[in-house]
Symmetry: C2
Subunit: 767 residues, 2 copies
């Protein structure tokens, strides 16, 4: 029953039972005012439910544990806010401040309350939303721009329009839920005084925000479009889907991160253009998974709204199911604990447990193929959306439909047309867990990109072994510059030396110039995941350093000779002139042994003065390296050994992050590095994870490297061959093509009087 029906009932009661029943009536009223429950029907085109699924949810939700738990959790949160009372303050603060956090909590709570009202029929939730919206409808017309002038697109409730668009995305869902429950007058008040002018503010009044090919604009389009769908405002819907006229954008204007407002070559705008241009054909998002996680929410939630309200658009089929691909890309851009690879500006620990991925997984499951592997991720997430998509997921899990999601090796291309390099993800499972290497050969990734062409990171069982440092930022930790980007993000984290990749003459890729970096990308050379004994990725870059051509090949090889898969790293550099080459590796744990003859320093100096080197203490050094330099360390009671081909003139350096860091903004993590003066050089190394130690039994097993020797056995313009000899005498041979990456080309070389013949860009053999 809606509250109006309740009122009519009361009138009837009064007429019939005057007098003696007054006492009972009072009891009924008191009871009703506490919990006015009804079964909510659907009399408009909802963006969240259809009639059938809503009826099913209302009937069944208590029997679907995961859904019911999510309901209970939402109830606890909303009840607490209802008890707290409504607060709609005049905007004043930046992120982290009271008015910002309050308005944010308001829209999150309204959205949940809307879902709860639809499902439980308890009208207190509807009342709460409407009461709050009334206050917003009163406040909004009085607002000029937010007092802070920090943003390129100032908002109304928030310091930047982006947050206002967030408000609209969540609030449109709450409005959708109480739409039928409101009378016409109430709806008109809200739409006229709040929603429509707010939507205009986010679009026509701020084209530099609305009309970009950028995740900010996705939020704007989603907010405007979703509210348009609920309000049946076709103008808003068209605006959201197709954008404003493109000439509203000025050439050369930039946002706060240095990103261009008008994208190079941009001739369209709106949601569909964003779907076409922000993702690569494989669903990769240029800034990397940390930002893709943030960007994915408005994409999937607006798409779900469109699928509900405008199914004829077939939005999930658009561009060959690009949204589903984007979600699969995300869950694949994570280590085996579900944590995203921290490439570019990325805070570590963000994972597919985030609320954005809960939405993405539920929506893509429901609307894009019901892939049972997504269910196993939803099971781990332990929560679902409180709508038809979440119910669909929870119900399927209850029905036992979940299948394990086992990430495999894959390549994700970068660039709108897939031509701008990519990421090669190599994975091998073994009896004790998994080894997972990531080779990055993407484009720059816009303002949040790092200068780390051909960088590589390594994971074992979800733990970092060779780390990508990630961002120098403590999001929402006020003590660290209010949670914003720290100075050291630019001076260290973005620099090439902060990554496991080659640094030429101690300079950063592209001289650290973003405009130049934005013009280029690395290139895949080959990628092969089809063999069980080897998984291999090879990529090239010729632009990061002028006159320097780099090729890096990373592969995992599995052989019964070794306890776990080995990682081979072949970094091949050729230049016009001689250079100083540095190849750093950021490891964790404690050094157990090394044959490098390194001497530690009595006092510590930074490794350099600029380009990130100023932040690394030089701990030790050797310039007398054997033909194979080895280092073994222990991390989390596991042993790791690195063996590299070295020679005369090579230097081995040990370092630790932390120099010139007056506020301890950087982590004090260790690294080691090879340095070589050369024109052409090949850095060849093998990394073994082996054995373990128990501090309880005090037994160690397989504490020693099983690599007896590695050597480059052949080099020509066309090929390079590496041999890895096991202590037992067996030999692993890898030959990599330098020029021809054709899969059908047949090659032939002779090594030690033995003829090798193969087809394709590499050859691998154990003998």
């Amino acid at each position: 029953m809606s509250d109006r029906i309740v009122k009519i009932d009361l009138v009837v009661h009064r007429i019939v039972l005057i007098g003696c029943l007054n006492l009972l009536l009072l009891c009924v009223m008191a009871s009703c005012s506490q919990e006015q429950k009804t079964t909510v029907g659907l009399n408009h085109q909802s963006i969240l439910f259809d009639k059938q699924s809503l009826a099913l949810i209302q009937k069944e939700y208590k029997n679907i544990p995961l859904f019911n738990e999510s309901i209970q959790e939402a109830m606890r949160q909303v009840e607490q806010e209802i008890a707290n009372g409504i607060e709609v303050p005049v905007p004043q603060d930046l992120a982290g401040g009271y008015t910002h956090e309050r308005h944010k909590l308001n829209y999150l709570t309204m959205q949940k309350a809307g879902n709860l009202f639809m499902i439980t029929g308890n009208e207190k939730y509807a009342v709460y939303i409407h009461d709050m919206l009334l206050q917003y409808a009163k406040l909004f017309p009085t607002l000029s721009l937010h007092p802070s002038e920090k943003s390129y697109t100032r908002g109304k409730l928030f310091w930047q329009s982006l947050n206002d668009a967030n408000w609209m995305v969540y609030t449109s869902q709450a409005y959708d839920c109480i739409y039928d429950w409101l009378n016409e007058e109430q709806k008109e008040n809200l739409e006229k005084n709040l929603f429509r002018p707010y939507a205009d503010f986010l679009s026509v009044e701020n084209p530099q925000f609305f009309n970009r090919i950028h995740n900010h604009s996705t939020w704007a389009c989603a907010g405007v479009g979703m509210m348009g769908l609920v309000m049946k405002d076709e103008e808003l819907i068209q605006r959201a889907l197709y954008g404003l006229e493109i000439d509203t954008l000025a050439v050369g204007v930039k946002d706060n991160d240095g990103g261009s407002i008008l994208a190079p070559g941009q001739n369209r705008a709106g949601f569909l253009a964003q779907m076409d241009m922000l993702f690569s054909p494989d669903g990769f998002y240029a800034e990397g998974p940390y930002y893709q996680r943030y960007a994915i929410y408005p994409f999937v939630v607006f798409a779900a709204s469109l699928e509900n309200a405008r199914p004829d658009l077939k939005i999930f089929e658009h561009r060959e199911n690009i949204l589903a691909k984007a979600v699969y890309a995300l869950v694949n851009l994570a280590d085996s604990d579900g944590e995203f690879y921290p490439i570019n500006d990325a805070q570590k620990g963000m994972s597919y447990y985030s609320r954005e991925l809960v939405s993405a997984v539920d929506i893509v499951y429901h609307f894009a193929g019901q892939n049972p592997e997504l269910l196993s991720i939803a099971e781990k997430q332990e929560k679902v959306l409180l709508d038809a998509t979440g119910f669909s997921v929870a119900q399927a899990i209850t029905q036992g439909k979940a299948k394990p999601f086992i990430p495999k090796s894959l390549e994700l291309r970068d660039g709108a047309d897939g031509s701008e390099g990519g990421v090669g993800i190599l994975r091998m499972n073994h009896s004790g867990g998994d080894i997972n290497a990531v080779l990055k050969y993407t484009a720059q990734g816009m303002g949040h990109g790092h200068y780390d062409k051909l960088s590589y990171s390594l994971y074992e069982n979800g733990d970092e072994v060779l780390q990508d440092y990630g961002v120098a930022r403590f999001v929402n930790i006020e003590q660290k510059d209010g949670g914003g980007y720290l100075k050291e993000n630019k001076t260290f984290s973005k620099q090439t030396i902060a990554h496991n990749t080659l640094v030429v003459d101690q300079n950063t890729n592209y001289g650290g110039k973003i405009d130049k970096a934005n013009l280029h990308h690395s290139d895949r050379f080959f990628f092969d995941k089809n063999r069980s004994d080897i998984q291999i990725a090879s990529a090239k870059d010729v632009n990061a350093y002028e006159g320097v051509a780099m090729q890096r090949t990373i592969c995992l090889v599995a052989d019964s000779l070794f306890e776990k898969p080995l990682v081979i790293d072949l970094f091949d550099v050729r230049a016009v002139e001689s250079h100083s080459y540095d190849l750093p590796y950021y490891y964790f744990g404690q050094i157990l042994s090394s044959n490098s003859n390194y001497k530690t320093n009595a006092t510590l100096q930074p490794m350099g003065e600029k380009n990130g080197y100023q932040h690394i203490w030089e701990e030790g050094r050797s310039d007398q390296l054997p033909s194979n330099t080895k280092m073994t360390w222990m991390q989390d009671y596991k042993f790791y050994s690195w063996t590299a081909v070295t020679g005369d003139g090579d230097e081995f350096l040990l370092g630790r992050i932390g120099a010139n860091d007056p506020h301890h903004n950087l982590r004090s993590d260790p690294m080691f590095m090879l340095r070589r003066q050369a024109k052409n050089a090949v850095f060849a190394s093998v990394l073994e994870s082996h054995g373990q130690y128990s501090p309880v039994s005090e037994f160690s097993t397989n504490a020693f490297s099983m690599v007896d020797n590695i050597s480059i056995t052949f080099q020509s313009e066309e090929f390079i061959a590496l041999s890895i000899r096991h202590t037992g005498g067996s030999e692993l041979r890898l030959v990599v093509c330098r020029l021809d990456n054709g899969t059908d080309t047949t090659h032939e070389i002779e090594i030690d009087a033995e003829k090798l013949v193969w087809t394709g860009p590499y050859y691998y053999q154990v003998k």
Copy 2:
């Protein structure tokens, strides 16, 4: 059936069924030779079983999951060794080498095989043990001393007699299990050629090993005594219980660790003397829990053997149940993950999951009171001994008798008579976990002791917050000096500056002289665990530094003002002359903020040249401190804030371990430190654990300290008073007595015109 009965049966068969049954007979023989199962009875006085319990185990073991799993696990291990074949090599190697590890594996396997034979009746286990013992009986008479001359007491099979005693402890159990199964001739062979001469070697031939008050001798006595019990050799038993004549020991002779062979004042020897002198009345073992864990095994296993074979001795009641007390001391000397506090030479990660504690828990449960709290530890251990004690534990767990072991605050006195200081363990549980502080005011702890009088360490939920560094050693990791003590253990880990305690004039306690340190101990001043709002320990030391009297008071206080219990640290030092005082704290994680105005260094120098300072890089420093110096850091997504009373002339230093460490033998852990020049000084500080951060939701809660101010509000010869003001204005007051620790004395002081009256050595109030 024993194998002799099987043979008789076969003879009968042959007579009756000559000829045509030969084929069948061969089949029977083949089958029998694979699995000759029988029900083993008990026809001698076993050290492991009595008839009744053995029969019960044989009948029921498959129904007791924990016991059966332990059986299965042992079977897997023993089967593998049986398949591998018997190897009894001529002794040659040191620890870690082949012959050492082989003989060690042999005795561990024999012991398990013995248990399996008794329980399953499968004779292959008995055959395996006997075959192996025959080889030992052949080898032993040919052996002179082990070729290595490193030990003060060289062994036969091993480089030190200690390991030979280990062999005897385990092998006596295996022999016990097959005793009835062997015929007289077989027993005589083993006893005459192996056991008796070996026992003589370990005792009369090596009194400097056998006759000490030291855990080495406990192993010797246990080995000799247990073998004596099985062999019914009363001479060996008496030797083990009461030692040799005391004058076999020479005055002034030392062992490899620098420990005296003849203990000061020693006039007895043997197992009973060790029980009387090696533990404090509370069961504390002077070297600390890491070594107590190692030492406890021969104590409990020999005691269990005595309880089985000589119940009249009532060994578990000896010295008011001292062995049970020692085991309870051990399980209480562990953080909430069961890991032992790493005081003195202790490798971190050792815990009550070790095999020694499995034995100790099972034996003490069975023979000393059936405390159901021990069962919950056994449940966590997930394994039990394969004898009557382990069965008793496993059965009780199956019967649901386990009760949670919830560690509480307690004090453990040190010294044979309990007069040599002790350890104060403070614990408070709160809704989100536990806070646990440890104040060390023990005696030196012999050769493995660290020079850290009044040091303190802090734990939260089993994780270190303020760490005790522990040992610089990687036990059994060959790369690190063969797993032995590293040079840096002496130059850093043992030094006072390596601990969270006061360093005077940058010197180590007692000038780092072990002979002097052995003469002294700190003293408890008071310890009170009886209040729920405060748990407090206070201790004094007047010997560590000449002319310097120190009193440290550590307390946990719980108040609804604060999210979790606070830790108050009041370090009160008074000296005859002026000194430089350093009070370091070894924390973990990353600094978020500090009001200390510290400046970081452009290059790093060691903090000093000796006494451990040479191993610490000075990262930063401030000599302009406010009246309260604060620092907040984040560790594992939890926030910690330290607030200290500081003033003019005080210095704040930031450092990191790792200088002068050419082989990276030390961990690169951070520290901060207060430095003050003064005659008398009070270092007062508060440590808060507060809030948390989620990298997934990116929300932080309670990220800021709630301590507005702390100050010393009163000082006199007799008292010192501290006030802690909460940001909301409330005040926590603590007054500590400096002279009178009587619990009945009534005191009165006036602070800010308010009169405080209380009884006992401290006063605490929230107002």
